[in-house]
Amino acid sequence: MREYDEYQKFLRYKYGYHSFVILFSLLAINHFVDYQWAYSKENEIQILVWVTSIYFVVRLTFSGAYFGKRDNPLLANLFVSVPGLLYLSDYLTGHSVLFENGRLAAGSIWFFIALFWLSIPLTYAIRTVVDKLRERKEDVRTKSR
């Protein structure tokens, strides 16, 4: 079981609540919009759930609340990259299609699942770079005093 500190728990509740509100809003809008943009209505709902999940994990990873205190982020990122890349390769090699007849295809859900898994290591990499730049700036400021 992952251990999260109090600030991480606070962020997880906060972004979880945001995600709930976003998902609810998207589903409500989708319900009233009279336009089918995916293979079926059920497909649309699934995609909206995955899009909201991507938002949730990106916010958590960027704010440092996705990985627990004792987790090894590098190993975890490697682990989640594998299914992400596998699912994405289907689309890159042309085995699966994203769009069909101007709508998202039935199998397009796997694209969003790939994005979900890949968003974690990508966001973590960006966050690491931002942290290092901030630390360097802080070091320069401290030394100049």
Partner: protein
């Protein structure tokens, strides 16, 4: 919320990085950063752990003097 510069100053006095302090009080570096930026108000338990690590009192780090209030 206002920044907690006293925490940063006290940490620097001990030559500790945010990661060092975070490890000492069993939280993540982002938590210490959020407290110093004023983005998060820690619980009393965490405040006590930080004060014990830096060998200061709660007043020294977390009391906010408000000139308008008469106590």
């Amino acid at each position: 919320m206002t920044k907690n510069m006293r925490l940063k100053a006290e940490r620097a006095k001990w030559g500790m990085s945010q990661q060092d302090l975070a490890d000492a009080v069993d939280v993540t570096r982002q938590t210490i950063s959020a407290i110093e930026r004023g983005d998060y108000n820690p619980t009393i338990n965490l405040c006590i752990r930080i004060c014990r690590t830096l060998d200061v009192t709660l007043n020294d780090l977390f009391w906010e003097e408000n000139e308008d209030e008469g106590i």
